[in-house]
Amino acid sequence: MDKEQLSAAEYLRLRRWERLVYRISKFFTSIPGRTKSFFLKLKNALGSFFRALWANLVEIWTTFREGSWQTRVSFLVMGFGSLAHGQIVRGLAFLLLESAFIFYMIFCGAYWLGKFGTLGTVETIQVRDPETGIMVTQYGDNSFKILLYGLITLFFIVAFLYTWRLNVKQNHIIDGILASGKKLKSNKDDLHSLVDDSFHKSLLSLPVFGIVMFTVLPIIFMILVAFTNYDATNDGRFNLFRWVGLENFGRLFSFGESGITVAFGEILAWTLIWAFFATFTNYFLGMFVAMMINKKGIKIKKVWRTLLVLTIAVPQFISLLYISNLFAENGIVNATLMSWKWIKEPIKFWGDGMLAKVMVIVINIWVGIPYLMLITTGILMNIPQDLYESARIDGANVFQQYCKITLPYMLFVTGPYLLNSFISNINNFNVIYLLTGGRPWEPAWMVNGTPAGKTSILITWLFGMTSDSGDYKTASVIGILIFAVCAILSLIVFTVMPSNRREDDYS
């Protein structure tokens, strides 16, 4: 295949699979170029960041140099300028924020921030109480709290710097307005603007605060854990944990005694295989079932659909655990087969690695088909019937119609859904955990007391690390890697996906 850029006409002349190959090869050949342009963009972004920073610094300096005395005092006492010019509400708000910040920093922030670099130095010790002769505990530093509150303090500092900058800008604006001889906004105007032209700020302030506190902060905290030795032993309270740099990542990718590369590689491979089969078997079979039910001449369509949808109606927690027991070594399936004399000894559905893998994929089909059937039913009905009609007139058989009309249309419309479902299957905790829990266990994959088995996927492995053996540091690394895998896959697939191409590709 010619790897050079094809013109649109040349591209359209290619056969379908050639287009796909072309796109995939183009993705890989374009990696160097993309990398280069990424770094160029990064350089530009950094450049503009520093330019903006410089411009800000210059503006702050000019504000100070050319500003009134009130403005200059505002640099230290936030909101003073506004207060001095009668904008009480604004000024008080700034002043309150500054005092709150200073108060916080003195009474808590300084402590947390000071310990942030070491994550604590004072050990917890046991001492004998002289009066009762009983051992009591004297608690020292708590690494966990230091990491958490240190991070929050950093957030506060950034927020404070931003507020301070706003305060300077305010004074700059006040100076400007006064110099031009206009009137300043009154307190009433200020308050009024909160429900009028600045209404978006009033509305968004709470959600933004919530997102920063409950989403951004925990994510950064979790990422930071990957760079510490926080685990069950170094729990932060009795044994302090500390920063270890990239050690945890190194352990994951180094061979030898303590390396967990083999386990990680095997589990990652199975995770991807599982996600692939779980996504595509469901997709094609679901579409197939939808097409069958949609077919003219099929009676009581609603009944068929309802029957299938019943699977969704029963919570997975119940149905999957139930199925898991059905296929147990002493379960009903084995008992029945044995009573029919079909087998002599029980089949170890969950005891054999390969069989267990096939089982979870097949059972996932049973769970997943109804969803796909519902989704595709609607889309299938939307395909213009005249396309099929003209195809039939041209002599296309059913299979050709499917490959040339139905499938491309479906792929075009459901491309993003496919990607989404692939990613969510990578993290499909329920099916794996409720059916096998990761079994059959593979003793050699035991990492710091966390067992892993032939059907473990990354997310169930991670769950074991956090809930069973308290290996938080490795779990955090795995979490970051799951994110990396999902991000890379999404990038590749989005580039290759038909939905991402022009629309005429389909027609």
Binding site: T132, I134, V136, G236, F238, G331, P443, M446, G449, S469
Partner: protein, 414 residues
């Protein structure tokens, strides 16, 4: 309208601290504590703490929140958890780990002397870390944590009960299962039965802070160990073998005819089999004409106290725990949930002596359970798994693999 809203807000603000004050005020209690107890003993423990409040000499009154938390969950939740219970019940094999991870506080001199005097020597030895004269970290609660064999009399002939080979043959002939968990998580506890039967040893001494010393002794990889592996292989290779220790498998689609499980499963077994339930000590197996009787671990449950910062609170908690594990309380617990007492006087009680399951356990070939590194149990399960997957003439390979895994167990401290 606005005034009203402001008034409402103000009054709401004013009531908040008042509610807080009420909550803090308490009704004449000295200490508020949390207690975790095993399944089925919540109401009883609440009553017993009430009794303590009435009768204790110091006149201390505890306001206790009692929760049912199983011993295994308690062991997990007590570690690194500031809001763990002040008093909790654990299984004895968790002791060293709990001590190592600072989830327990040691007994004071008075409490330790009381415990040593009142309880059987086994339980006291088991809870003392650092050898004789070491530190006592818990209050013995039971001396019944061992396993026995439950069987279905309608399938197993009475004369076959003492022979592993005959039991396996009976199960195979009837198409029923022989449930003994050797190869699944938690199977280490039962696997040891085979190795101790042939005289093997695995001893892991600790210092009094629960850390393992490097002077462990383990001879599973030996002539005797090989015999144990051969005996185990008979069960593992059988089509009747089921890796489970649940008496509920008597009622599975392919029902078990034999289940090796703890005393705690007696009621379930009774429910499933009714009149057909038979119980017996573990059987013997024969290798090269020599017969070996499977041993059963005997472990204990104990009450532990969380590390405290207030010395007097710690003192009174120890007094409470001493009371809760006294003869009176252990007997009440035996009556309520059938736990076999560790208290010497309670053991002499007629009702306790009359318990069938406890009697069978007492007749068993017992090995006192010591402390083991957490990962040792997984190593032993791995050993059984490898024995299951090995050829019968290559059983020394898994034993060798097991032996080479031992040194690494000491480095892991979880």
């Amino acid at each position: 309208m606005r005034k009203r809203a402001a008034a409402l807000l103000l009054s709401a603000l004013l009531t908040l601290p008042a509610i807080g004050l009420c909550a803090c005020g308490g009704g004449g209690y000295d200490y508020e504590i949390t207690v975790w107890v095993g399944e089925g003993t919540k109401t009883l423990t609440e009553k017993q703490i009430g009794d303590f409040n009435e009768t204790n000499e110091a006149g201390i009154k505890f306001k206790a929140t009692v929760l049912e938390v199983s011993e295994s969950v308690a062991a997990g939740d007590a570690i690194g958890n500031p809001s763990a219970a002040d008093i909790a019940c654990f299984a004895q094999d968790q002791e060293a780990r709990l001590v190592r991870r600072n989830a327990l506080s040691p007994l004071g001199t008075t409490a330790a002397a009381a415990v040593r005097e009142a309880n059987d020597a086994d339980s006291v030895a088991a809870l003392t870390l650092g050898g004789e004269g070491g530190t006592l970290w818990g209050f013995p609660l039971t001396s019944d944590n061992g396993y026995i064999m439950y069987y279905d009399k309608s399938v197993i002939a009475e004369e076959d009960v003492s022979s592993l080979e005959a039991l396996i043959a009976d199960c195979e002939a009837a198409g029923r299962n022989f449930a003994m968990n050797l190869t699944e998580t938690g199977g280490g506890w039962y696997t040891a039965a085979f190795f101790y039967a042939t005289g093997c040893r695995s001893e892991w001494p600790t210092d009094d802070g629960g850390s393992f010393l490097t002077t462990y002794e383990d001879d599973f990889n030996s002539e005797n160990g090989l015999i144990a592996a051969q005996g185990m292989k008979k069960l593992l290779d059988s089509t009747a073998y089921l890796a489970s220790d649940k008496a509920s498998t008597f009622g599975a689609a392919i029902p078990s005819a034999v289940v090796v499980s703890g005393i705690w499963d007696y009621n379930t077994a009774k429910r499933e089999l009714g009149e057909n339930l038979g119980i017996a000590p573990l059987p013997s197996f024969t290798v090269d004409g020599e017969s070996y009787t499977l041993k059963t671990y005997l472990g204990h449950k104990f009450m532990g106290i969380k590390p405290q910062t207030d010395a007097y609170r710690a003192l009174y908690l120890q007094q409470l725990a001493t009371y809760l594990t006294s003869e009176k309380c252990q007997l009440e617990r035996f009556e309520a949930v059938g736990w076999g007492p560790s208290n010497l006087k309670a053991q002499e009680n007629e009702a306790v002596k009359g318990s069938e399951a406890l009697r069978v356990l007492a007749e068993s070939n017992i090995i006192p359970q010591g402390q083991y590194p957490t990962d040792w149990w997984a190593s032993v399960v791995r050993l059984s798994q490898n024995i299951q997957n090995s050829e019968a003439d290559a059983l020394n390979v898994p034993l060798g693999t097991y032996e080479s895994s031992l040194a690494g167990l000491l480095s892991s401290n979880n």
